[in-house]
Every structure is written in structure tokens, then in C-alpha cells.
């Protein structure tokens, strides 16, 4: 007898959601261990699991076959409903399969598919093989089954097999007899299949759980929804040999032999449309670069840049990436033509070519420090360029892409939504029949940050079950389910564009959003297959910058562009060094505001570091303090050897960026390029399912062997873990730092325009409009209230001194189209009565009430109460030909029974209507009323001696418990003079949970601490003063 062998041709991975109980890579690895010749992944109407299985089998002799399982929605005449597997024989067959899946998926709702027997006739499937899974005798009678087989035989002559499984379930003998009978009648061979749902039998419990969930029931009630046993796993060859007749097993090998398609061979051509006729892509790219060069360097390109461009173009041409660069250039050029600001980032984006093509503003002549400018040939990874667009106008760009390349050729990459601890606990709990209320309680009670949480104990404590065995099972099941895919969602902006129909490359399905389609692969899949994507992302700050530039252009009466902003402006850096950065891109968070005075950025490159340093990576690796000490000359800068110097010189010997860490692994620990690449991938995937421990030993031993000290090695490892999932590379920081500088410059030199633009781009950034406006006031910007006779929809700058007039958009619930109507129909003299306003602007009662509530009609109402009274009672629609204008009564209707609003009432009403007030801050009122007798204001704290006990009070505008600061809660209090930072230690927080968690107006007794210019209060006693202003709707950004 020949060497036993087998090809598994029916295998569900967990991309057949709630059915398959193993990851594709687990199946692949197991098949390799068992010595299978080939493995087909055949998810239900999907090829989503293929790239992962392929990646796992890359180095193994097991052949991966691409296929998919289908169940039709209707039956051919007189036949039963067919269920079958289609396998791709060649690349062509693969395209046919993808096309069929696309048809079935596109016509159904997200996550579903619909396929009818007619589709099988209308789609060309001549390069696919079909394995028919005949129904059981209980499901259909012999006539129907035979009719079904004949129908399939017509479609797949010589390419049809009858699939027979040995699941050892009741009725199997009849089923096998039926298969033999069909084989004889149809003259078509039988092949063995495993109906695989999991890679090992041990997954049966999880498979049962999934089946129960799929049927919306608990295990106890699932009954026959579950399989009778756990035989649907990848069985060892000797077992298969016992179960199946030899010819059936051999048939599986014959089928596998016919399937020659290999996912690694997938390449897509970028659309050739962009290259003018008669020109090669390389020549065209060269021409565009040359043109850009002349614009960028009117005085002549520096020699170094010329050399760089030559080198890059050579590399692009060698790797055949021209189309990719041309595609991005085309998208960016479109955005330019529409006046949409955009900025590229990523390693390839910061190249000289991209600078010339206008994809980035990071000038290679100016910043030659950047570590890694370009795609590296040896890593053989596709170039990565993310382009950020103004968040309000990104949709225009997306629509352009769809228009330009059509929906057949462009689609978004998918994002695989996976089981996370909460969802896994919830679902496993459901299947085990735990009381949902108790499960919720358990979830509420779990401290997710507390790594030491003993779930098993908590489950027992919460009396979800008294049975410790069940608790163990629960724990195991939840842990196994973690990371399982649940559904495909759309990626934030990763586009895949191809020259041919995309559906022949990868199936396309519907996303939840109307008119959006996604492919079945996510960005990791694309990367592992070496396929390129274009990231079209949204960035609020770009919107704000564009709006600010427009306002400045109006002021100057001449166009003012981003390039016109002078570089390395001292005043701007001085402002940042003081931590005055509210509203500035990236460096406006509390942590960044604290870092700025310590790092004292003086140059553009300092900003690059500033952006990257307040991140989990450098913080967990404890690299922040060494860097600061060296920067300020408190510690000598030294390098163990020249190799390390080359990597770390820019950052004074302290690794800050992701690229440096990876490079260090190579030069300091002796990682090969391939290993370093694996490390990079593991870091990217760490958050979801990756495991860094395999690298730990290698890294530390490697470093020790090369004479580095153990402490440094350990810290580098921690930093690598910190980078996991939050990797922040220098190539991204460089692009961001540019925007940091631009926005800071705007804030410093044109504050009115800057805040106006920020407010017009909401929601974005870290602060609420109220906080931004208060900061604006502190920078001498004069703000005026919204007024129907002076405001536009947007906030505007008015008068010679550029006062900031709030627009009608600040009024909650007021719509842009209404505001437009109001402005267009506004008489020269302004509106004179509420009746006139209502009639001319065509406002309905609700809109009138919103205006009155905002106190936006000072022209004809003494106060908001009277304004409101005037509006009421006019709800009848005005007649078509209303009374002539001179009949209109401009006399004001007043009601004497109504009290005039107090200042406090006005403040409250302003908050209710706009979320902010231009009147006095509520804290000023409370202070005046004597409620805050011993409290110091934020302003007073600045001049108070450190170390003394103080009392402060303010509106709670932020509570944060950063993962990097163990157990400390940071509370931001706002008063009429600014913000107070309060630090609450874990012990203090534990004892005073209630005021800490619930107070909206908080009073704190504590000790004042000072570090340079940073002042904070170490909290002692906390008290809730919310009753003083209980109705103020202040939103706090709570931690969760």
C-alpha cells in the first residue's frame, strides 16, 4: 500500500461565523502536523479565512485549496435544495468563485447571502470543481435527490463529485448507501470529506456553544441543534483509513491535484487609466516628479535631494510601484483641485518623490534626519501611504474614487470585528444559561485594567454558578472565544483599487452603511498577500487649518496658504514651551500640556519627538526621563557602539520611535531582517491576539551576548510591548509634527481666526466649544453672542478688531439649512419682530423657540422670557397671501406676569441652549455668592507657594485614568480663570468613590505641587458641590 495521504476538502473556519470553531491558522497548522497533502478552507459563501490559512501554510508542504460552501435559497424544479462546495481549480476559477460570492453577498443584507439556482446558470463556473453534499434521506426523497444530482451534473460535467462524510452519527449507514446509489446512477465518483468544523476534537464544547448561539438558545435547550458528537475535526490519517474506502481517499487527492490556484500568486494591477497614452508609467511618474521639483525648488533642487529622487525612482521602478504612487498622486491632485487640505504619512509618504508630488509637506531638504525614508527592498512589503483629508470633506474624496474607478474596481478593505472580553463573556454566559442580569453585573464589576482579576473566583462570587467545574469551563470557553471573528465591518478608509473587476480578485459584500461595499479581507490579509491599499483617512485638524487659512486670507485680502507660514518661528515655540497648547493638534491633551514645558521644543524635530514620546511605548519602556535628562544636558549622551549610534543619534541615544526599536533589535540583539519583520508584525497584532513572549528571550539574550546591560535590554522589551497596538513610527510623527507646528503658529499669531476655525470644525479635538471659547478669551479674543441680525451659520470674524461672532450653529438643534434661509432673507435693516422673522425666514415654531432659548433676538425682545412669550400662540400656519407688510404690527407683546431672568438663570439657559455662555462663568457667580469662600482660583494657584494646603473648586471637565499611570486618576476642574489639575491617588479615590465618580462640581482640599510651570493639586478630601448648580449640563469626558 502506498504512503497514506488525504486532502481535506470541506473545512469551515471561524469565518463561517458561529459555526466554525477554529481559526484558519489553527486548521492549517494541524493539517500540516497530521501530514495532510492538502487542505481546502471552504467557509460559507466566503474566502475571508484564506489569507490567514495561506500565511500559516507558506512554509509547509501542505497545499492550500481555495473554496467555498453554498446552500441555495431555492431548489431546481422537482429537486431538493442543493448544498455544495466549489473549489477553485486555477486563478481563473478563483475569479469565477469570487464573482459568484459577490453576486450572492451583494444582493443580501450585511452578513447574509442569497443564491438561487438560476445564478448557477448565469455565472460562468467552468474552472471550478463541485463537491455535492446530498441531503439525508430524512430531508428529501430519492426522486428529489436524483433530480438535484442531475441538475448539478449538467452544470459540472466531469467536475462533479459526491461528497461522503463519516461523522459516526445515527443514520450514517443509510446516508452512505444513498451516496453509493447516486454515484452509480450519475456515474460520478465519490470523495471522502471530513465536514470539518474544528481543528481538534477538544473544540467540541466551543462548537456546541457557537451552535447554541446561532440558534439563539442555551446549551441546555439546544437539543438537536447540536451535533451528536465531536467528530467534525481534522482526524489523523490512520483513523481516516479505517473509516473510508481507499478509493474515496484517493479521489480527494485527485481533486486536490487538479487545484493549482495559489493565493500568493494574486497580484493586482493598478489601474492604467492614469498614464497618458504613449507614455510608460515610469516615464510619467518621472515627468510628474520633475514638474513638482520645479515648483518645490524654484531656485534649483539641492544635490542631495536630486540624488534621493534618483534613488527612489529607481527603487519604485524596480518594484513596479509606479501605479501606486500615481494613484495616490491622482487622489491628492483631486483634493487639491477642490481646495481640500490633505497630508500623507507613512514611510513611503515622507519620500522626496512624495514631496515633489505634493503628497506631503515634509521637505527632505530641510529635514534630513528622518530615519527611514522609504520602502525597503529586502522587506518586500508594499509601500504604505496613509493620506489624511479634512474630516468634513473626506466623503467627496471617497465619492471621487468611486466615480473615477467605478464600484466594480474600488472598494473598502474590511475590518474584522472580533470577540472581546465583554462580548465573549456575554455570549458564553448566554449559551451556558446564566442569568443575563447576573452576567451584566459581573461585567460591570470586572476591573478590566486589573490584570490580576481572577475571573473564575469572580464568577463563583457572583453566584453565576455554584459548580466550580462549570466556572472552569466558562473560563476556558471565554478564553478560546476571545479573538474569534464576529463579522466584517468597513475599514475606516483603506481602499483597494484594481484595474480589472475587483470581484475577480476578492469577493465584495455589503457594509452596514448604505452604498458602501467592503471586500472580504482586512488590511493584515492584504499585507500578507502583498496587495496594496490606499488609506483615505479623516482628520479634523486639517478642516480647522483650512478654515483658519481662509479667514486669514480674507483678513489680508490675499491668499494665504500653508506654505506661506514662516518656518521655525520663535514666538510659536515659546508659546508651546509654556504648555499653552489648547486647541493645537496632537499636543493639547493634559499629558502633552505637562510634557511641553519639560521637553521645551525648539525645533521642528523636537515636535516630532514630542508627538511620539507621550505614548505607551516610550512611557512603558521608561525612556521619557532619560531622554529629557539628556536633552537638557543633565546626563551625558553615550553610545555602546557605532552601530547603535547610527540608530539612536537623532534621539540622543534613547529609543523613541517604533523604527528605532526594530532596528535596535537588529543591531543590538542580532535579529535578522526577517525576524525583525516578524517582530514588527507581532507588535502590530499584539493588541488583538499577538504574543510577544517568544521574542523576549531572543531579544534579551541577544543583547546580553553583545555586551548590553540587562536593565537596558529589559526596558527595550517593555517598550516593544508598549508599542504593541499603538506603534508610533517616526514617519507618522514627522507628518503630524508639521500640523502641530502649523496649528500652533495659527494660535500664536492669529488667535481669533484659529479659534473661529476650530469652533467651525466641531466636533473634533480634545476640548468642548465651551473650553475652547474660554481659552480664546484668555488669549484676548473678544466673543460676541449669536444674534439673528448679525450671525451667519458659521462663526465669523467681524469688524476691524476681528471679534469672534458666534454663528447660529452654536444653538443646539438648529439646522444649517434653516440658518441659511434666515441669512438669505434677512432685510437690510435686520429683522424687526418675531412675526417678521417667522414669515421672511419661513421658520417653524420649534426653530423660533430655539432662537428665543438662545437669546438670539436682542433686537426686539427685552430678554429671553419675553422673547419666548412673543413666539407662543403663533402656531397656526400663516396664510398663503399673508397681510401686506405695512399691516404688520411691530409693537411688542409683553407679559407683565413674567419675571426677568437673573444672571444665574441666563447662564443656565445659555448652557442648556448652547453648551457654553459668554456671560460670567458659573464659578464666578458661586464665588460672588460666597459659596466658595476659601477656594483659590486657577489663576491664584499659579502664584501660590508649593507644598501648602489649598482648596479649589470647579466644574469637572475631565476624569482620566491613563493605563500608563498606575491607579492615579487625573481630574480637570474648570473655573472662571482656567483649569486646575487634580491628582487623585488610588487610595484616596477608593475611599471617596462617590464624589470622584459622580460630582459635576467638585471641591478639593489638597496640597499644591509644582514642577517647573506645571501646577497640580494632590487631592485629599473631595466633596460634591453639584447641588449648587445641579441643572448645569456640563459634559465631562469620563473614563470608562
Amino acid at each position: 500500500m502506498s504512503e497514506p495521504s488525504y486532502a481535506e476538502l470541506f473545512c469551515f473556519s471561524n469565518f463561517t461565523f458561529l459555526t466554525g470553531a477554529s481559526h484558519p491558522h489553527e486548521l492549517a497548522q494541524r493539517a500540516a502536523e497530521l501530514g495532510y497533502t492538502a487542505l481546502a478552507i471552504t467557509d460559507a459563501c466566503s474566502v475571508a479565512g484564506i489569507p490567514r490559512a495561506w500565511a500559516a501554510l507558506k512554509e509547509s508542504p501542505v497545499k492550500l485549496i481555495t473554496g467555498s460552501w453554498f446552500e441555495l435559497d431555492d431548489a431546481p424544479p422537482d429537486a431538493c435544495t442543493p448544498r455544495f462546495i466549489l473549489l477553485a481549480r486555477t486563478r481563473k476559477g478563483y475569479g469565477q468563485l469570487c464573482q459568484l460570492i459577490t453576486t450572492a453577498r451583494r444582493r443580501a443584507e450585511k452578513g447574509q447571502y442569497q443564491l438561487f439556482h438560476d445564478d448557477m446558470g448565469t455565472h460562468v463556473l467552468d474552472d471550478c470543481l463541485c463537491l455535492w453534499l446530498p441531503p439525508s434521506p430524512a430531508e428529501a426523497n430519492a426522486d428529489q435527490i436524483l433530480a438535484c444530482g442531475e441538475w448539478l451534473l449538467l452544470l459540472f460535467e466531469h467536475r462533479l463529485w459526491i461528497a461522503a462524510a463519516r461523522t459516526l452519527e445515527a443514520g450514517e449507514e443509510q446516508q452512505l448507501a444513498r451516496a453509493r446509489w447516486l454515484s452509480e446512477h450519475l456515474r460520478c465518483p465519490i470523495t471522502a470529506i471530513g465536514e470539518v468544523h474544528m481543528h481538534r476534537r477538544e473544540r467540541q464544547p466551543l462548537q456546541d456553544v457557537l451552535a447554541a448561539l446561532r440558534n439563539h438558545t442555551s446549551l441546555e435547550n439546544a437539543g438537536h441543534c447540536l451535533f451528536q458528537n465531536g467528530e467534525r475535526y481534522l482526524r489523523p490519517l490512520p483513523v481516516l483509513q479505517r473509516l473510508f474506502p481507499e478509493p474515496w481517499l484517493e479521489e480527494s487527492l485527485r481533486i486536490a491535484q487538479q487545484c493549482t490556484f495559489e493565493p500568493g500568486s494574486l497580484r493586482y494591477e493598478y489601474p492604467p487609466d492614469l498614464v497618458p497614452k504613449g507614455e510608460t508609467p515610469a516615464a510619467y511618474l518621472k515627468r510628474l516628479t520633475r514638474e513638482g521639483e520645479q515648483q518645490r525648488y524654484p531656485a534649483g533642487t539641492p544635490m542631495t535631494v536630486q540624488a534621493l529622487i534618483r534613488k527612489e525612482l529607481g527603487l519604485i521602478s524596480e518594484m513596479k510601484y509606479e501605479h501606486y504612487f500615481l494613484t495616490i498622486h491622482d487622489i491628492v491632485a483631486f483634493a487639491r483641485s477642490r481646495g481640500i487640505l490633505c497630508q500623507g504619512r507613512g514611510s513611503a509618504a515622507n519620500s522626496a518623490v512624495c514631496y515633489c508630488l505634493g503628497i506631503t509637506e515634509v521637505n527632505p531638504a530641510q529635514v534630513d534626519l528622518l530615519f527611514e525614508r522609504f520602502i525597503s527592498k529586502d522587506r518586500n512589503e508594499p509601500p504604505d501611504i496613509d493620506v489624511d483629508f479634512e474630516h468634513e470633506r473626506r466623503e467627496e474624496v471617497i465619492q471621487y474614487i468611486y466615480r473615477r474607478y467605478s464600484r466594480e474596481r474600488a472598494a473598502l478593505a474590511a475590518t474584522v470585528i472580533r470577540y472581546r472580553p465583554r462580548s465573549a463573556i456575554r455570549d458564553v454566559g448566554k449559551a451556558l444559561g446564566f442569568d443575563p442580569a447576573l452576567v451584566e453585573q459581573l461585567l460591570e464589576g470586572i476591573d478590566w485594567r486589573d490584570k490580576a482579576t481572577n475571573w473564575r473566583q469572580q464568577i463563583l462570587d457572583k453566584r453565576l454558578t455554584r459548580n466550580p467545574k462549570v466556572a472552569d469551563q466558562f473560563f476556558t470557553l471565554v478564553n478560546t472565544l476571545l479573538g474569534f471573528p464576529r463579522h466584517l465591518s468597513q475599514h475606516v478608509g483603506g481602499f483597494v483599487i484594481s484595474s480589472g473587476p475587483l470581484a475577480e480578485l476578492v469577493p465584495v459584500e455589503n457594509a452596514a452603511m448604505a452604498d458602501r461595499t467592503v471586500i472580504q479581507w482586512d488590511k493584515d490579509d492584504l499585507e500578507s498577500l502583498g496587495l496594496m491599499k490606499v488609506d483615505v483617512l479623516a482628520l479634523g485638524m486639517l478642516t480647522a487649518i483650512r478654515k483658519a487659512l481662509e479667514l486669514i486670507s480674507q483678513q489680508k485680502d490675499q491668499p494665504f496658504r500653508m506654505q506661506d507660514i514662516p518656518q521655525e518661528d520663535r514666538a510659536t515655540y515659546n508659546m508651546l514651551q509654556k504648555g499653552d497648547s489648547i486647541g493645537v493638534f496632537q499636543v493639547e491633551s493634559r499629558a502633552q500640556i505637562n510634557m511641553l514645558p519639560r521637553l521645551k521644543p525648539e525645533t521642528y524635530y523636537d515636535l516630532v519627538i514630542e508627538v511620539a514620546i507621550v505614548r505607551p511605548g516610550p512611557i512603558q519602556g521608561d525612556m521619557v526621563h532619560p531622554y529629557l535628562r539628556r536633552k537638557h544636558g543633565l546626563e551625558p549622551v553615550a553610545y555602546p557602539n557605532e552601530a547603535i549610534r547610527s540608530v539612536l543619534e537623532r534621539t540622543l541615544g534613547v529609543p523613541i520611535f517604533q523604527e528605532q526599536v526594530i532596528k535596535l533589535a537588529m543591531v543590538a540583539a542580532g535579529f535578522t531582517a526577517g525576524e525583525a519583520d516578524q517582530l514588527r508584525r507581532a507588535m502590530a497584532a499584539w493588541k488583538s491576539h499577538g504574543d510577544m513572549t517568544p521574542f523576549r528571550e531572543k531579544l534579551i539574550n541577544g543583547m546580553l551576548a553583545r555586551g548590553h546591560d540587562a536593565d537596558f535590554a529589559e526596558r527595550l522589551y517593555l517598550q516593544i510591548c508598549g508599542f504593541g497596538g499603538y506603534g508610533f513610527p517616526e514617519s507618522h510623527a514627522a507628518s503630524f509634527a508639521l500640523l502641530v507646528y502649523v496649528s500652533a503658529w495659527l494660535k500664536r499669531h492669529y488667535p481669533a481666526a484659529f479659534y473661529c476655525a476650530l469652533l467651525n470644525s466641531q466636533p473634533m479635538g480634545f476640548y468642548s466649544p465651551s473650553q475652547l471659547l474660554q481659552d480664546a478669551k484668555r488669549h484676548s479674543v473678544i466673543a460676541l453672542p449669536a444674534d439673528i441680525n448679525s450671525s451667519q451659520w458659521e462663526h465669523t470674524l467681524q469688524g476691524v478688531d476681528h471679534q469672534l461672532r458666534l454663528g447660529l450653529r452654536i444653538i443646539r438643534g438648529f439646522s444649517a439649512s434653516t440658518a441659511e434661509r434666515l441669512c438669505q432673507n434677512r432685510p437690510e435693516t435686520g429683522y424687526r419682530s418675531s412675526a417678521e422673522l417667522r414669515r421672511l425666514a419661513g421658520l417653524n415654531q420649534r426653530e423660533m423657540e430655539l432662537l428665543a432659548g438662545a437669546n438670539a433676538m436682542p433686537a426686539f425682545a427685552a430678554n429671553r422670557h419675553q422673547a419666548y412669550w412673543q413666539l407662543l400662540g403663533h402656531e397656526k400656519p400663516t396664510e398663503l397671501f399673508a397681510a401686506a407688510e405695512d399691516d404688520e404690527n411691530y409693537e411688542l407683546e409683553t407679559c407683565n406676569q413674567l419675571p426677568a431672568p437673573t444672571e444665574g438663570q441666563n447662564v443656565l439657559a445659555d448652557y442648556a441652549s448652547q453648551g457654553l455662555t459668554l456671560q460670567r462663568h458659573p464659578l464666578a457667580l458661586l464665588r460672588e455668592q460666597g459659596h466658595l469662600q476659601f477656594c483659590l482660583s486657577a489663576e491664584q494657584l499659579k502664584t501660590t507657594k508649593a507644598g501648602i494646603p489649598v482648596q479649589v473648586a470647579g466644574l469637572v471637565t475631565g476624569r482620566q485614568r491613563p493605563g500608563s499611570a498606575s491607579g492615579v486618576t487625573f481630574v480637570t476642574l474648570e473655573d472662571e480663570t482656567g483649569n486646575v489639575n487634580v491628582v487623585v491617588w488610588l487610595e484616596t479615590a477608593r475611599r471617596q468613590r462617590k464624589p470622584l465618580l459622580t460630582a459635576r462640581l467638585l471641591h478639593v482640599k489638597g496640597i499644591l505641587e509644582r514642577e517647573g510651570e506645571i501646577v497640580h493639586v494632590m487631592a485629599g478630601k473631595l466633596s460634591d458641590l453639584s447641588h449648587l448648580i445641579k441643572t448645569l449640563p456640563i459634559n465631562s469626558r469620563d473614563f470608562h
Partner: protein, 472 residues
């Protein structure tokens, strides 16, 4: 007319509390389980308040007891209260979810003035361990607002009533959200200020409904109320936050319910000879116990001893989450028991039921079983012998979908002592049941033994061989 309104601020909470001896912190959460809607004093001491997110509440008080709000349950408890109030006042209105309204103008004389009525009601409430805020007003709405704001005083004085109302905030006056916002925007903050607005303006500028609401409070517009009718049966329920595992634990809440029953029977001037006690379990089917007395009876004590006797005979099959006692059959105190007025008009269902009851009474409840198939792959669990139900479920599965099984399944597998003569079908592998601790992993075969018997045998994981049934 004079109205008394009883507002039960935390009816469900009280109800659960009085059925348990445990007094640790307890909250009621809304249906979706996100928000606390009622918190007991112990919970409030820990900082838990109504309207708090459950998440916050649990982080403040990790050991919090939690019960879910249930509208039906609340209405039921409210009806229980209506029943006793009905003994004192004829015109009662149910105001779900937590209010009762009673016309007491006509009662004053009967009880000797408002203070006496007030006292009577307070006494009863205390006995029932329920918190209620009473309010008296000259209109139903006035009484309601006063009660719900806890401003009730024992007086029938109309001007006092109007004065109290005048000081109420808009929110307290229960204007709908829209009207409330409107009035606030006009700078008004109390009901008194609203009273002062010119009525014509109020109708035109606010809404006719707002004017009508104000006039109903003031009494210048009629506000007819539909009176409540007491039900023709007695039913009460006790709900537990923590499952009760010992039948002894059920006697405490039963005591209260049975004394209610006694009062109810007295008031009806009726007896009964049949109680239905239903025990709800978290996972299992409810236990239904029919308690029959030897003759017409109304004493709580007698019922309790019967029930506790029954508990002694029949231990609880699962922990109990709630119990419900129902009496539908009432017997006149004088009439001879058991005889139907029209003689032999019993229908078949009733006859069937009587037969079952008699058999059960003779043989004991547990002696009677009903067979049914059950969806489970494990043979010993593929059928069920449950307590007798009145309506038998229709068989859903057809014969050809059923697997091949012996008609005679042994009570438990027995070791196979010989090597079978011949093997027929097999193996059929059955593996499952890991979730309830009754894991099964077996290969089944049909085999002929030496004596010619056709046996259903299996081999388990430990390679042991067993006979599990016989084919005919």
C-alpha cells in the same frame, strides 16, 4: 368630593423586602438593566441613588442585590393593595405603576372625619410593611400631586391644598417635558406662577391641554375617573432576590400571604377547598402544587399546616425565585360543599382533571407521570417523565427523523458479560452533555447475544462494554 391618593414610592422594593429576612442593600433596575430606578435605604447609605447607572452603582457597592423592574408584577402588587383599600372605600382608581386613588368625601362620616380615615389607612400600610405617601386633595390631580411630592397633610381644607400646590416646582407639577421646557423658558418656576397666567393666553400660547390640566388641578373642570372592580379570584405573589433553597424558607412569605387570604375570604364571606401554589425556578419548569383541604376552610393557620406538611413530603426540586398563591374556587360559607348548582354539567376536561386529582390524592403526586420525548442526543435524556400537565403537547418530530433506538431502554447501562455472537450496525458515536456534568462519550452498536437477544451495547471512553437496551 374629597380624594385620597396613595403614592407607593418604591413598591417593588418594599414588596421584595417584606418577603425576605435579609436586609442588605437592594436596588431595582429598569428593564434593560442599565439604570437604577429604586434604591433601598441600605443602598442609599452606600451612595447608590435612583437614576444612577448600574455600572456606577455596582462600583460603589459591589455586593448590591439587584432585582429587575417588571411592569406586570408592579401592577399585580398594586392590585393587591387596591383589594384591601376596597374594604374601606367603594370608589377606587388604579393609577399604575404606583398609585391608588380613593374617594373619601363620603367616608368621613362613616369613620368620623378625615383624621380617622388617615389613621386607618396608615395602620394598614404599616401592617403590610409598605411605604406610601398619602395626599388629600379636592380633585384627583391635586391629591396625586400632593401625595407624589410627599406634601400630604391630614386636612380637607381646599385653600391649604391650593397653597401647597402653588409652591410646587414645574417638574413636581408633572407637566409634560415640552410644556415644562416652555414654562421654564418663560422664566416660570412654580405652579402658582402658572396659575396666575391669564387663562385665554394660556390656551392660545401654551396649549388647550395645558389649560385643561391646570383647570383639572384647580377643580374648575371635571376629571371623571373609572372605578376599579375587584377580581373574582385571589392571587398573590412573593418574589425573592436570592433563590430560596429550603422549603422552610418559603413559610415566612407564605404566612403573610395566607393571612391576606384569610382576610380576603372573610371579606367575601366565602371559604375555599383548593389552593394552587406555583413555585418558579430559575432554570427548571415551575413546580405546581395543588393543596386540597378536606372541607371548606378559611383559616390561614390551617392552610399553612397543610402546606408545610406537603413540603415535608416533597422536597424542593430546585431553588425557588418566586411563589404565587391562587385561589379561584370559592364556596359559600353556608352552602354544602362539592355540589354543583346545575348538577352534572362537568365537561370532559374537568372530568379528566378530577380523575388526575383523585389519582394523585390516592397514590401521591409523584406516583403519576407523563412521558414525552426530549431533544437531547444522550439516550437517557432523550425522553422525560414529567409531572402531569393538563394539556399534552403535540409531538413535533416525525418517525423517520428519529434515530434507531430500542424500545426497552435500561434504567442504567449494565456491564456486557459476554462476547456477542454477531454485530449489526455501528458504531454510532454519541458525545455531548459536557455542560451539565453528565458528559457522555460512547460508541453504540446493535449486537446479537448468545441467547439470541438483540442488544443495544456501547463502549465508553474507558473501553468498558455495556448493554443499554433491548430490541424486540
Amino acid at each position: 368630593m374629597l380624594w385620597l391618593y396613595l403614592h407607593f414610592p418604591h413598591l417593588l422594593l418594599d414588596h421584595i423586602r417584606r418577603s425576605s429576612e435579609n436586609t442588605s442593600a437592594l436596588v431595582i433596575v429598569e428593564g434593560s438593566g442599565q439604570k437604577v430606578i429604586q434604591a433601598c435605604p441600605a443602598a442609599r447609605d452606600l451612595g447608590v441613588d435612583a437614576n444612577m447607572r448600574l455600572k456606577t452603582a455596582v462600583s460603589l457597592a459591589p455586593e448590591l442585590g439587584i432585582a429587575r423592574a417588571d411592569q406586570q408584577q408592579e401592577t399585580r402588587i398594586l392590585e393587591d393593595q387596591a383589594r384591601w383599600l376596597y374594604r374601606y372605600a367603594a370608589h377606587i382608581v388604579l393609577v399604575p405603576p404606583n398609585g391608588l386613588l380613593a374617594e373619601i368625601g363620603s367616608l368621613q362620616r362613616l369613620y368620623g372625619g378625615v383624621p380617622a380615615v388617615w389613621q386607618t389607612v396608615e395602620d394598614v400600610l404599616q401592617k403590610h410593611q409598605l411605604t406610601a405617601w398619602p395626599g388629600i386633595g379636592h380633585t384627583p390631580l391635586a391629591a396625586r400631586l400632593i401625595a407624589r411630592n410627599g406634601k400630604g397633610t391630614c386636612t380637607a381644607d381646599k385653600s391649604h391644598c391650593l397653597q401647597t400646590l402653588g409652591k410646587m416646582s414645574l417638574l413636581a407639577a408633572e407637566f409634560d417635558e415640552r410644556t415644562c421646557t416652555r414654562l421654564q423658558r418663560l422664566g416660570l418656576s412654580t405652579l402658582g406662577e402658572v396659575f396666575r397666567l391669564p387663562p385665554a393666553d394660556m390656551a392660545r400660547r401654551l396649549s388647550p391641554e395645558t389649560l385643561a390640566y391646570i383647570q383639572k388641578i384647580q377643580g374648575s373642570r371635571p376629571d371623571p375617573q373609572t372605578p376599579w372592580q375587584p377580581p373574582h379570584y385571589f392571587q398573590q405573589q412573593a418574589d425573592f432576590v436570592q433563590d430560596i433553597e429550603q422549603s422552610q424558607g418559603l413559610l415566612f412569605p407564605l404566612q403573610r400571604i395566607l393571612s391576606e387570604l384569610e382576610k380576603d375570604l372573610c371579606w367575601r364571606q366565602q371559604d375555599t377547598d383548593c389552593l394552587l401554589l406555583v413555585l418558579q425556578h430559575r432554570h427548571a419548569e415551575p413546580t405546581r402544587l395543588r393543596i386540597r383541604t378536606s372541607g371548606p376552610e378559611h383559616r390561614a393557620e390551617a392552610f399553612l399546616s397543610l402546606i408545610s406538611l406537603r413540603f415535608d413530603q416533597q422536597p424542593l426540586q430546585a431553588p425557588v425565585v418566586s411563589l404565587r398563591l391562587t385561589v379561584k374556587r370559592f364556596l359559600g360559607r353556608e352552602a354544602p360543599g362539592g355540589q354543583d348548582l346545575l348538577g352534572e354539567s362537568q365537561d370532559l376536561n374537568e372530568a379528566w382533571h378530577t380523575l388526575i386529582s383523585r389519582l394523585q390524592a390516592r397514590l401521591g403526586e409523584n406516583a403519576l407521570k407523563q412521558l414525552a420525548p426530549q431533544a437531547d442526543h444522550r439516550p437517557e435524556r432523550a425522553w422525560i417523565a414529567s409531572g402531569v400537565r393538563r394539556t399534552s403537547r403535540a409531538m413535533k418530530t416525525t418517525a423517520n427523523q428519529l434515530p434507531q433506538r430500542p424500545l426497552w431502554l435500561l434504567r442504567g447501562p449494565q456491564p456486557l458479560t459476554e462476547i456477542p455472537q454477531a454485530w449489526f450496525t455501528g458504531p454510532e458515536r454519541i458525545s455531548g452533555g459536557w455542560w451539565d456534568g453528565q458528559r457522555v462519550h460512547r460508541d453504540y452498536y446493535i449486537a446479537q447475544l448468545n441467547n439470541g437477544q438483540l442488544a443495544w451495547v456501547f463502549r465508553d471512553v474507558q473501553e468498558g462494554w455495556f448493554v443499554h437496551g433491548w430490541f424486540g
